[in-house]
């Protein structure tokens, strides 16, 4: 099998065209000269965690933020690097595959070569296990030919997500030392970037000169902060899923007799479901964050859907589309408690078929109530991050089952007078994960290799005391994207304002579309910093020797109050200053 990695693939005409696409580089990464401005030192997201983080990352926390500058930028204390020594860098796919992963490799390869033709990029074959076993493939332009702008992780393959145990960490150290690597790039999601942060600290402590860099590539959209506005892969996944959701909406509207219950892959949080809702306008979405905040039980959720079905039937609408994030099952308080009990018993070695007898009375009552198919799925062993096997738990079928039971009851009692309730269930995820990446993800991934910020956004989690981990970002219920959803939820529910973004395009309208949540959240932090710098430059140009007294006087007065106000704001908000 190893011999298959990196071999040329047969490409379809569209794939061929895509392989010839040159991603756009942001101005600050163009050319052979590197200009860096160093900012404040890194801090932590939650001030209360700072002592734990500081203790866990004594060698790596607090390093200054690096800000790459475009050629035209006027920053007096910028570090300008024109000659770079040749370096050796290793790269490994660690997390689940996401569209754009290949472009991270390609972009890094080009960047290394443009700065020094003797630099080397070494891919590890078969993920972290290839890293431990030192199975390598030197990346060349030939090898990259049929992988540029293509989906999947098949150029190098991947195995487990984990670089965590003493044995694994030592094997990684040995590989980096043996191969004389100056850098190790780990491509992955929340778990892999947590591992990367710990590995960096471990290497620093061991005085190993290999720098560890984590690159946020994950379809879940949950690894973000003010510096990392989106993850590579999220844009593509949402576009492919939205295409399919919209097709289901059109189908529902044409057949007028089905309710589609669509579960979406995306782990614990509901970013994918929120974005797809904003793109496709299905009738309803139930976000895990809403369920957790309102402490909704499984019966509350089911009743909410039943009432919606009944209200729509009152308008002679007997069809609809409902989105359900896969993580919702862990957001429902009583189901979460049940899962924790099951996982605890499994960890104690209790056999799956004996667990039902050892549950607490509450959990036992809930468990016995559930239909057999879901019982079996809840009894599965948890994942390496302690969460349930979310992709295997058919929450959409459970909800469809509960809603059907209730609607039949209402029909019998005469409180519901619509047509017989019919549900069709789907799980969308696997079929999107291997997609050709969107233009956005191609460009973003290609430029991504410079994000040296390996997510020190670490804070302790309750489940693994003593080992700080990156918190996946949750949907912000006070954010603009959620607000946009709330403003439209009633109309989406009743009026069938279905919108079809269509299949992913590489030409024409839609090809350059960005995620709706990204646009409305106005999260372009670095862009706004640039804008500010432009204003400062403009003022400097206007108020130069030779300008009128009036202009100088006005400028001085205004800038005095500006600096005053900003100083006051900065000092009062300093405690809450976030790094990542």
């Amino acid at each position: 099998m190893d011999s298959d990695f990196g071999i040329p693939r047969e490409l379809s005409p569209l794939q061929q065209l895509r392989s010839q696409y040159d991603p756009e580089l942001p101005p600050c990464l163009q050319g052979t000269t590197v200009r860096v401005e160093f900012g404040d030192g890194t801090t932590v997201a939650e001030a209360s965690d700072s002592h734990i983080i500081a203790r866990a990352f004594p060698h790596t926390l607090g390093q200054p933020l690096a800000h790459f500058l475009r050629e035209a930028a006027k920053v007096s204390d910028a570090h300008i690097i024109t000659q770079l020594p040749s370096i050796r860098v290793g790269i490994v796919f660690c997390g689940r595959q996401a569209p754009g992963g290949h472009n991270v490799i390609w972009g890094l390869f080009e960047a290394l070569k443009v700065h020094n033709a003797n630099s080397t990029l070494i891919g590890f074959l078969g993920g972290s296990e290839g890293l431990f076993a030192q199975k390598t493939l030197e990346i060349t332009d030939d090898i990259l030919q049929t992988y540029k702008n293509q989906g999947g992780y098949d150029l190098l393959g991947r195995t487990k997500d984990q670089i965590r145990t003493t044995e694994q960490v030592n094997a990684a150290l040995k590989a980096c030392t043996d191969l004389k690597l100056d850098g190790l790039v780990i491509i992955g999601g929340v778990t892999s970037n947590t591992d990367a942060a710990h590995l960096a600290e471990f290497f620093a402590e061991a005085k190993c000169s290999t720098k560890v860099v984590g690159v946020p590539v994950t379809t879940n959209g949950d690894l973000k902060n003010q510096f990392v506005e989106a993850n590579v892969g999220f844009d593509t996944i949402c576009k492919v899923n939205s295409q399919l959701i919209s097709n289901a909406c059109t189908d529902a509207l044409s057949a007028e007799k089905y309710y589609y219950f669509i579960r979406l892959m995306g782990r614990k949080h509901s970013h994918v479901a929120l974005e797809c809702t904003l793109q496709s306008h299905p009738n309803m979405v139930i976000l895990g964050e809403e369920v957790a905040a309102s402490k909704l039980t499984i019966f509350d959720i089911s009743k909410q859907i039943c009432d919606a079905v009944q209200a729509r039937a009152g308008q002679d609408k007997n069809h609809g589309v409902i989105l359900i994030p896969e993580g919702i099952i862990e957001s429902i308080p009583e189901v979460y408690a049940l899962l924790k009990e099951i996982h605890g018993l499994l960890r104690e070695g209790v056999a799956a078929d004996k667990i039902s007898t050892q549950l607490s009375p509450w959990s036992s009552a809930l468990f016995e109530f559930l239909p057999p198919f879901i019982k079996k799925q809840l009894l599965l062993h948890p994942e390496s991050d302690d969460s349930a096997q979310l992709s295997q738990i058919e929450t959409e079928k459970l909800l469809a089952y509960l809603v059907e039971t209730e609607m039949n009851k209402r029909l019998k009692e005469g409180t519901y007078k619509g047509k017989k309730f019919n549900a069709i269930c789907h799980f969308f995820g696997y079929q999107a994960r291997g997609s050709l990446p969107s233009k956005f993800d191609c460009d973003y991934a290609y430029a991504m290799m410079t994000v040296k910020n390996w997510s020190q956004n670490a804070s302790s989690t309750s489940t693994s005391i003593g080992r700080p981990a990156i918190h996946p970002a949750m949907v912000d219920l006070k954010g603009k994207a959620y607000e946009l959803l709330r403003q439209n939820a009633d109309k989406f529910l009743m009026e069938d304002l279905y919108r079809n973004p269509g299949p992913l395009q590489y030409d024409g309208p839609g090809a350059d579309a960005k995620a709706v949540s990204l646009c409305v959240e106005d999260q372009d932090y670095m862009g706004r910093i640039k804008k500010l710098q432009e204003y400062l430059d403009q003022v400097r140009t206007i108020v130069k020797p030779g300008c009128s007294q009036d202009v100088l006087k006005a400028a001085l007065s205004v800038m005095a109050s500006v600096t005053d106000v900003l100083t006051t704001i900065s000092s009062s908000s300093n405690g809450g200053q976030q790094f990542a």
Copy 2:
């Protein structure tokens, strides 16, 4: 709800662009003059059925085939029509929704108006039930605006597929008479076109002047013959499904631990599965026609997959993608026998939970062996065409279950030494059916309204004696498309030659791609007739008064043998001449 039909919809940027696309018309349909050449009378597909068909269709069988001609065509006895009276035509969506349906309406509307601005197109709201109840909407260009080149059937909606009972047929007759329709266009698949043929005969017998026209719009690709090379919708469905199958292939290759079992919607025959295999190159496909021809049992099929999994593990490949047409379950002899028994008992009124006790010993043994989830699905009532509810029977899960059981056994016995077998199951169909139509389907559907051949390819079926029905076309196991599959099957199985056609494009490479099976089958019958006519024209131009004696002599000699040979062939093959 009725008030929602025909209302303007909010369109995404891509949908807006598509709504402005002008489909291409073939030259013979351009302009305001109609040129028709009448060919031989219609005959039947199977000579042995001719007496049954002739008895069932005394008024409509044997009418001449109409061949529309381009302006430049030199056909001496062509009927040339320059002025058409204003006519009133009704149109109704009858079958399951397929991409392109809206363009049939649009194309018909434009054609009516171009020939006489006073002609009227009347849409029936809510399918055949709207026809019976005379719920109508006059089609205007305004109404069409947001439905041009869009998916779904939501402009008019649809209900049941059926116009069959005496009550239904009489209601249709009354509607056409009351509304003074010159024509009634029925958009649908095999069932609806069978109904259309019977309705035409019924109208002719009742001396009703409304002409009935069936238009083959179905995602299954099973309504074809030498005149109808493809169905509207098939191209789009295969492209959307192939995109998703290819994504699963990329995912399998990246994760290297899953076998994807993908069931494809498509009714009894395996056209969709064959076409998707030729587009995406998954490792394996099991066609219903192969299973039926080789009389494979469910255990044969499961063993075939197990052996493939084992062979691939021998090459260190522990992943793969296997396509399963939904109709396969009815092609397996012993399962088909079981289904027939179940349906018979259901028809006798036996309750589903009592059926297992009343089966024959053979069927009972098979039934008891099956896992509970599939038992429940096999007990569902049959569809109106007597087939099982194919979309509800999870054959992919049954096969995955059988294969997993067998692979675990082999692993235990030591005959299989690969990794633990892991299957992920999918059913693709609903999420493709509502897609924006491909360029091919947009053009084809727009021009389709002229196919007046309402599929008299009728022959009696064993299941409904006395009522001839259209046979859905099966995959031709002697055809070129199947040959192409067989030639590559071993390579597809072992070498992972996955090919990704990518998401449906409307610009650039792939936008004009045709179905592979359509290209290799060389089914362009009308195109080849045109080509022949060009040759004849060329000869006529060369051998005109003034040409040399030598040329004339050679031409005479050659054409004498050509006509000789063709006369001989024609007379000997006359018995097998097919109409439709």
